[in-house]
Symmetry: C2
Subunit: 358 residues, 2 copies
DNA sequence: TTGTAGGCGTTATCAA
DNA sequence: TTGATAACGCCTACAA
């Protein structure tokens, strides 16, 4: 004889709305309405239903509800590299905002591989996510052609405008940030300032580079193309750039990297070469990743409000999902804050170094 | 006529299996079978169906399929703090392994808040995830009582054994790692070694602390309780611990932290106080977070293979999901690797410091 | 205030 | 080798 628990549904099987309805002697519709608080239900039945729901630990199946309502309360978040300190901070913000609205976050890590990005987005479409957030990623026209654009859910991009598809966009004021930083360096007497670029495909990287050149010109300085080095936002690329720069016959007195990770890479390379920062060279980054404020790094940088970037993107997306497509694409540009720390200082007279044999 | 914006006005209705069936003049069952490769279909119809599928860009709705098959191909991953550098590396590993098996990752960030953990797990149950991975988190008996345990999907815990529920478990050999590190310090002449503990609730933190005490005893050294400081795995708690330790009347010659973030906090505090590492004090951590190997940090630590921890956990989980609950819980213990870097050196003679006035 | 019934898009079972 | 049909669990017109 099997011992039946009168309260719990048969082991493992979760109770359905029918079980609750039966237990209460009402119709499933009533149970649904009690839970959805859609139409008025007599206090009596309401109480009964709620009691039974609790007793049976009934929770509606999100799958069934999703099928019926054509919603999943899930948002796909596509990042290039979750291990890059920038990503988790943004993702943390997205997560928080989604949590507040009872949505879930499906994390997709592309490793910046195009095919994987496409495959992931396709699978997100299959899963019927309600929306998509692209973190420092975009959809090229070519990539977008891989699937039926009409079936893409609402989209928000972070730090990189979407090429193929109009979408809401959250970014930081790159131009202002870099300009502030450059002025800080000019004030310190720097004239020979190098720039480590980010990926060319990145809108924000491009904007930062552009602002650098504009600031140089505005200051009446020549932009030496030798002093612009291509990086890819990784710490390693920063280290390589750093080595190259200090080995030059007439090296820069300051190095600006398009993000903190590269700046930190530069710092590492300089340390390995025994070059003092900021006495010999000044270094600065962009983002203000959490480790940058550590006393041992102490990097002068431009803060991008990463967490806020994430929450903002999520909220724009949820509004769009609820509100419908009526409004035109929105762009939110958060302010960049210059954080002056220990890696920038007065420029060493440019001539001195030349006398030192390589 | 309104110009339709493809993304902002999304949801061109996606074709269903019925559309494909109709277009081919076959039954939906046949389409399903072609796609699932379940039963034999004549080459002719097969080709026809596949062609139409391509033409219509038909993809089965994961929601409908999930409802029918009682599977979602989604795994919930619950982390305490996604911004802690440890998390993204593990999550990256999980993500990769899930990707290989075409599963998705639903990320839940609890901020170590119990109610949020409960609410998240409940929502994951609602969503019918096929499995759950708890990263440096556990379910206490009390927490587990919040929902019907029978309805919990298969579970894998990382770095913290599950109290309430039997589950597969992936961790690192904490004891061996700490023992190796302690022997390294002993060999350098350290006797007065402090320990910064992790959260008491963490199994791995407890194991690391235990191994520290065992090593001290085994070496015939007294464990001075003053030298054990409670931290919480954050960089701030490490900084606080560091300050307290060096302000002691007879400070330690070496400080071991239960994780890298706290060790890095210690380093920051020492730097702020002008104390040289490793000349005045040696410092070591546990995890080998990516920044630890940077030339400016250069932290001696014990590597936990984080990425591999993630992939292993995911694979155990997927096996369990496919294979059923038959087998008993498994434990995988990865080996810990001591990484000797620049923050550990010969012990300064214990007497010297006493002469220097505070 | 409540109940009935249809359908969301699949897959599985049975029948042909 | 293929087709019809019944679920899966829910929400929501429409009816009562």
């Amino acid at each position: 004889m099997t011992k039946q628990d009168p309260v719990l549904a048969p082991s493992g099987r979760r109770p359905t709305i029918l079980d609750v309805a039966a237990a209460c002697g009402v119709s499933p519709a009533t149970v649904s309405n009690v839970l959805a608080e859609k139409r008025h239900i007599s206090a009596e039945t309401r109480a009964l239903v709620l009691a039974k729901v609790q007793e049976l630990k009934y929770v509606a199946s999100a799958t069934a509800r999703g099928l019926r309502m054509n919603r999943t309360w899930s948002i796909g978040v596509v990042v290039g590299d979750i291990a890059n300190p920038f990503s988790p901070e943004v993702v943390g913000g997205v997560e928080e905002a989604l949590w507040e609205r009872k949505n879930n976050l499906i994390l997709c890590n592309t490793g910046f591989r195009s095919e994987r990005k496409i495959a992931y987005i396709q699978s997100l479409i299959d899963k019927h996510v309600d929306g998509l957030i692209l973190v420092t990623q975009t959809l090229t026209v070519k990539e977008a052609s891989a699937f039926d654009i009409k079936r893409l859910p609402p989209l928000v991009t972070i730090n990189r405008v979407s090429e193929a598809i109009p979408s809401d966009h959250v970014t930081v004021d790159n131009e202002q940030g870099v300009t502030d930083l450059m002025n800080h360096l000019f004030a310190l007497g720097h004239k020979r300032i190098a720039f480590v670029k980010g990926l060319t495909s990145s809108t924000s990287a491009a904007a930062r580079h552009k602002a650098y050149r504009a600031a140089m010109k505005h200051q009446g300085l020549l932009v030496d193309h030798e002093l612009t080095i291509q990086g890819d936002y990784t710490i390693e690329s920063g280290a390589i750039a750093g080595r190259r720069l200090v080995e030059m016959s007439s090296p820069p007195t300051a190095i600006v990297a398009a993000n903190d990770m590269m700046a930190i890479g530069v710092l590492g390379a300089l340390r390995d070469k025994g070059i003092s920062v900021p006495e010999d060279v000044s270094v600065a980054g962009f983002d203000d990743v959490s480790i940058s404020s550590h006393p041992l790094i102490n990097l002068t940088t431009i803060e991008q409000p990463k967490y806020e970037t994430g929450t903002t993107a999520a909220r724009l997306l949820l509004e769009r999902i609820e509100g419908g497509p009526a409004e035109p694409p929105r762009v939110v540009m958060l302010t960049a804050n210059l954080k002056i720390r220990g890696t920038t200082g007065r420029a060493r007279p440019a001539t001195r170094r030349k006398l030192i044999p390589q």
